[in-house]
């Protein structure tokens, strides 16, 4: 029962397996690529994404690091400047704060600050989000923070397909690309379309077409939004679900196009509302699309608390499908 034999028979796989296959493909394709991070080797990855890769590629390509985020993220930056194509895994985005200086002050600034002499072709993967009762210090959604920073690209794969195919273009990109993998999605399972062999990491993707309201979302909230759209359909409300998937630079063309058609918009974002990526999108819509709007912009975000441990409180703190359904009903067919 090994993974390789089963994957040749079927395209059905988990998000976790999709991430692993992407890494494996990258390691085979380019000898300059290696994976580095805490517990990526012997342990097989905190979320088992890299399980088995150490055996296949050896300790130089699958490099376990000490618990030293600043140093190994900074080393990834230096290695990228020196000609390698590293994939750095930060176990969860909660720990990325220990490397924030390196990401923000080095990776994001050096290409510009050096007048274009140095590029930082680096990929940093990290797990993000809540929903597994891990309490406040392991449930942050920080992708919106990083999306604030010029010089970075920020991706949030919300589907198996994106988990499988985003890494390749991210590694080919001359810029530092941060990939936020949602912890709840790792177990999600789905069929990969055999005709799809890549994804465009510059574009958002409309996952469901509809005429009445645009739900703009990403990551784990995508599944909630799709469920909400399905629940709205019998009531005659056709919700369009836009998977942002690129949080920086935002694909405003796709966003604006959708909202200009539906004229109503709900943004679902697992980050906190204040100063979030949802705030940014809402601001841009009001700046550039004001006269197309037929209703106020709505936002469904995490409640402004450190995400709590107890299941019922955690559930109440995170965006919920029912909230999306209710908001859409109010927007489209008010009482």
């Amino acid at each position: 029962m090994n993974d390789k034999s089963s994957q040749s028979v079927t395209n059905r796989m988990t998000y976790r397996e999709a991430c692993k296959q992407a890494i494996r493909e990258a390691l085979i394709a380019d000898p300059r690529t290696f994976l580095m991070g805490e517990d990526v080797g012997l342990y097989g990855g905190c979320y088992a994404v890299s399980k088995g890769l150490l055996e296949e590629f050896g300790p130089k390509r699958i490099r376990d690091t000490p618990l030293a985020e600043a140093a190994f993220v900074g080393a990834g930056i230096g290695a990228a400047m020196g000609g390698l194509r590293p994939i750095v895994e930060i176990m969860t985005c909660n720990f990325s704060l220990l490397a924030l200086d390196q990401i923000m002050n080095n990776a994001a600034t050096i290409p510009h600050m050096s007048g274009g002499q140095f590029a930082v072709p680096l990929v940093i993967r990290m797990a993000t989000g809540g929903g597994r009762q891990l309490a406040a210090q392991h449930s942050h959604s920080l992708e919106g923070w990083f999306a604030h920073i010029p010089g970075l690209k920020v991706l949030a794969p919300g589907t198996i397909e994106d988990a499988r195919y985003m890494l390749k273009p991210a590694l080919a990109d001359p810029n530092p690309v941060l990939i936020f993998e949602h912890i709840v999605l790792y177990n999600a399972e789905g069929e990969l379309d055999p005709d799809v062999t890549g994804v465009d990491i510059a574009k958002a993707k409309i996952r469901r077409f509809g005429r009445d309201v645009s739900i703009l979302t990403y990551g784990n909230s995508l599944q909630k939004s799709i469920a909400a759209a399905a629940a709205l359909a019998p009531a005659g409300i056709e919700a369009e679900v836009v998977d942002l998937r690129v949080l920086r630079p935002l694909d405003t063309a796709t966003i604006f196009d959708s909202v200009a058609r539906t004229r109503r918009c709900i943004i679902v974002d697992e980050g906190w509302k204040s100063g979030s990526i949802s705030a940014e999108i809402a601001a841009r819509l009001s700046e550039d699309l004001f006269f197309e709007l037929d209703a106020p912009i709505r936002r469904i975000c995490s409640r402004e608390v450190p995400i709590p441990y107890a299941a019922h409180m955690e559930e109440a703190a995170l965006p919920r499908t029912a909230e999306i359904v209710e908001d859409a009903r109010n927007l489209v067919k008010p009482r």
């Binding site: 709007l293 209703a295 008010p334």
Partner: protein, 417 residues
Amino acid sequence: MTDFLMPSLGADMESGKLVQWLVKPGSAVKKGDVIAVVETHKGAFEIDIFEDGVVSELCASEGDELPVGAVLAYLANPGEEAKPLAKATEVLPAPGAAPREAAAGMPKETICPEKKVADTAGLAPAARLSVTVPAPRAKVSPAARRRARALGIDPDTLQGTGIEGSVTLADVELAAAKGIRAKAPFPTEPAVRRRGFDPTEMRQAIAAAMSKSKREIPHFYMSSTIDMSRPLAWLEAFNERTPEERLLPAVLLLKATALALREHPRFNGFWKDGRFQPADDIHVGWAIALRGGGLIAPAIHEVDKLSLQHLMAALRDLVARARGGGIRGSEMMDPTCTVTSLGDRGAQSVLGVIYPPQVAILGFGRVLTRPWVTGGNVVARALITASLAADHRASDGHAGGLFLAAIDRILQEPETL
């Protein structure tokens, strides 16, 4: 500064007559606003503008017949000073503006409203306090307010059905359909005078376009008979379920064609500059026979993305406007492929002539109950003949066959449309 030109609304349009201006020098315009009515041999078109700005000068007068490309007006882009006019324009005093300007020592010429607002910062506190707070106004969505302005409707008088009782776009459009117009103080534009289509000119236009097509486009034709039993049965059930959202068979044909175009993009686009240029979106031109003769084929936009109900609404709207003369210029330019359907009064099949620079036209004949062999038995079935006329420079017969087969396949799964 941008030139606003006499547009080319079709391959066969060489000139147009400016019938009416809907803006004046000094009017602020937004991309998409209708600013003029132009009469062509195909009828009157509302002409929309593609940029934001302020109209600085009108160069053409109502009644002028001008070639395509002639400058009709100059537009100052945002941030630009409006072009000074030969005739001095009136300074429009804002309420309470005169003493304010005096206090701030501003020259009289500044008419930019933004500047006026900014000037309040330099006022003495007393003067600032005297600025009146506007009375609370009705909740009107931004989209509804803009549409109301275009239609000459005062949205504040409408009953809103949107969130928090707000007036929505749909409310405005409903009011427009009922013929409600604005009251006096609202700056209305006079109703657009639309002439009927001139049958002689219409004939000439069709003659020019079709001759060009037959002269330049090497057509090839294919046809295929499609069993419509399943789609029509589905449609009947749907219409029984929701009689208020009744769909016509044409909608199924349109949507199926659009979805098939997605799979076969070589039929969706233009032959320009000696090569095929695929279109990004699928805007299907729908041939509409006009009362009194002639026809036009304006676009329904992004048909592949519209639900059937939405498509039905778009189709009704388009036909009504085509016959009423309210087609926008851009709608004539946009089709990426055309569909002609004869409905239930036409012939059994139709082989179309491509409208250049498009590369294909689909024809659907009348649905007829005819013999059909299935499972070795001859049975009576509702059949339709679908035909394709395509530009051989852009595609070949093999692709055409697959395209028609795709339409058939999609029509057999009406619940997925």
